[in-house]
Symmetry: C2
Subunit: 206 residues, 2 copies
């Protein structure tokens, strides 16, 4: 199945070595708890995975930034939705030798935010930057190959926001509440699910 | 601040003794990972807590069911939104001697689902049972003291659903996707936040 929904999370503290303890995801993991929650909400629904969704975490934490950690719902296997289990798979993926995969649905690549954006643009994607001063997501017709870009608890750096502005994009808002990044992902999925349920507009009489 | 939004989660496996290991929330914790995610999404937004929200977990796991574990956003302190930290506070609350509180925002009481429902009804609450064959939440004017009732990964037992039907209630649906219970909570909050933003309807001309 070709990917239809894609998320990019800029995680400026997420650790880029497999030495972080699973007992301290917020601290030594560099907010790996936040990262895991984002992955959970991007890919899981009740008793199933969203096979049409992919999420990229751009990790800018120590000691080897940037790394792009991708979870692909179409090929992911054996992972549970709890934070510890998702983080343990991130650790395995960070440990795996280059070229080998710990899990068919998880990839780690030496790649920064801007490289990823350029690559996704070349694939014909359209970018939606989540932004408190963006247009209301309810008023927007969503492109059929959307990539939603989100910051972490600190937000997307201005430099990266400006970079995305060079490409086809729109800024979207979820209203006047600042939700957790992981909650934004759930809400975006819900709104897209709802838009898909709507009957198509009636054809013009001719 | 008086509570305005309330959630009840029926957690049929959630452990009712403080002896579960924080390294195995899904297994020995009896899906305590799911419980923690529900609490996170009920109470946290970015850099803040929802002070107007309370969530009750009715734990039916071994060895001392049922217990009602309540997290109250108006008084909660020092808890972080990650699963492990929330679960560690549940453990502390389960350990605390009766009458003593580990955290001013967390209460554990020997009380089952039906007792809680009766008590909430006496406080003038209106129940919304999340149900795949319910009315669409978008079409419903939400009561000002709503209690949203959700099942866990297995669902709300028919017996408890029938019990709530004796009281003022409505069944609500979020569409044709079965979301994780924790995701349902995020979506409900989002929809309520949005309804609050809407300008009131214009007064009728008289």
């Amino acid at each position: 199945m070709s990917v239809k929904r894609e998320f990019v999370v800029f995680a400026r503290k997420a650790t880029t070595a497999p030495d972080f303890p699973l007992n301290d995801l917020p601290g030594k993991g560099g907010r790996m708890d936040l990262v895991a929650r984002c992955i959970c909400n991007a890919l899981w629904i009740s008793h199933d995975l969203r096979r049409d969704t992919r999420i990229h975490i751009i990790a800018y934490g120590r000691p080897n930034p940037p790394l792009c950690i991708t979870f692909d719902g179409s090929t992911l296997r054996r992972v549970s939705p709890d934070e510890r289990n998702i983080a343990s798979w991130i650790r395995k993926a960070l440990k795996a030798e280059s070229g080998r995969k710990a899990n068919p649905g998880i990839t780690v690549q030496k790649r920064g935010f801007q490289e990823l954006v350029k690559e996704l643009e070349a694939e014909g994607k359209f970018f939606y930057v989540m932004h408190e001063r963006g247009r209301s997501i309810d008023d927007v017709e969503i492109h059929e190959n959307p990539v939603f870009i989100l910051g972490d608890h600190i937000g997307l750096p201005k430099k990266e926001e400006s970079f995305v502005e060079r490409f086809p994009h729109e800024k979207l808002s979820l209203g006047n509440i600042s939700y957790l990044t992981s909650q934004c992902i759930t809400i975006i999925h819900y709104i897209l699910d709802k838009k898909l349920r709507r009957p198509p507009p009636p054809a013009a009489l001719s």
